[in-house]
């Protein structure tokens, strides 16, 4: 089992993500530079947070044209597991691997704080270790995290159980107050149709050790490791 963490010019959570995989999950995890299409035989790809290509034009807009992303698209189409966190989620949306887009936060401010998420589905390689309705504490740190899609896409996401996480209160209620950025229907993370690609704005990579204030995020990495173990 081998994990690949993409590195774009401007990625800044690549080392956090690789640290969790290598040191906490104790799995081989390599960095994959954006300029090469070679995924080095990795079994899962992580698209980390940051500001790929400076987020010029739009967040994730330039990154989607990089050589490595052409390989990731093919990898995902063949059923490979891909997890995009924060800027990684934005890149996956721009690349068309996930529907919708991430707009500027409704309050127009960069938000960096701990939030609560509710696991909305356990039917995915990333969430099968969670309980449905389980509340997780994780940090967010973004300017463009306001999830948007058209009405028919939202209906499809709901109908197919593809909303992975919603922003909720500490008690697990998806209220307006618990929505930090104006995301449609409090959506914090979604799955693709085949359920092998997950994008989420909150950072499981920054919440995988108690020392950081929460280790809830590690449950997602643990799910991923277990799912891959079952595949091989």
């Amino acid at each position: 089992m081998k994990f690949g963490v993409l590195v774009f010019p401007g990625s800044n959570c690549d080392h956090d993500t690789q640290h969790v995989l290598a040191e906490i999950a104790q799995q081989p995890a390599v960095f994959l530079w954006h300029d090469s299409p070679d995924l080095q035989g990795c079994d899962a790809i992580l698209v980390p947070g940051g500001f790929a290509y400076g987020d010029y034009l739009r967040t994730g807009a330039i990154a989607r044209f990089s050589p490595v992303m052409q390989s990731v698209k093919k990898f995902a189409a063949d059923g490979g597991l891909v997890l995009g966190i924060c800027n990684g989620f934005q890149i996956l949306c721009e690349a068309g691997l996930l529907p919708g887009a991430l707009l500027r936060n409704a309050g127009l401010q960069y938000i960096c704080k701990q939030v609560y998420l509710r696991a909305e589905t356990t039917d995915s390689p990333f969430t099968h270790n969670l309980d449905r309705g389980q509340v997780l504490k994780m940090p967010i740190g973004h300017m463009e995290g306001n999830y948007f899609c058209d009405e028919s896409t939202l209906a499809e996401l709901k109908k197919a159980d593809r909303v992975a996480f919603r922003y909720v209160s500490a008690e697990g209620e998806a209220t307006r107050e618990a929505n930090p950025n104006g995301s449609l229907d409090n959506i914090a993370g979604i799955l693709n149709e085949s359920r092998n690609v997950l994008g989420m704005m909150p950072h499981p990579d920054r919440s995988s050790e108690a020392l950081l204030g929460s280790s809830d995020g590690f449950k997602i990495f643990a799910s991923l490791v277990e799912a891959l173990a079952h595949r091989s």
């Binding site: 034009l57 707009l103 500027r104 309050g107 127009l108 948007f148 104006g182």
Partner: protein, 80 residues
């Protein structure tokens, strides 16, 4: 020849930046502004020997494939 490409958020997409500007204009007592939408403008300098029809096709393609995200934005352009 130059191409000016204007990218704006779709009408169905909330534009918090435009709203903030609109609110600011009202607070500053500028009269008669009902709404503001904020977008982007790109100025492309094209090769002089590019035929007009080709320029139109290519700029349209650049605008559609790169400069806009069709989920949230729309565009218009003019050549001069």
């Amino acid at each position: 020849m130059k191409a000016h490409v204007y990218v704006t958020p779709k009408k169905t997409v909330l534009d918090p930046q435009g709203q903030a500007i609109c609110n600011a204009l009202r607070k500053m007592r500028y009269a008669g502004v009902a709404d503001v939408r904020q977008g982007k403008c790109f100025e492309l300098t094209l090769d002089d020997n590019l035929p007009l029809a080709d320029a139109r096709t290519e700029v349209e393609r650049i605008a559609r494939e790169v400069l806009t995200n069709p989920v949230i934005e729309e565009f218009s352009f003019r050549l001069e």
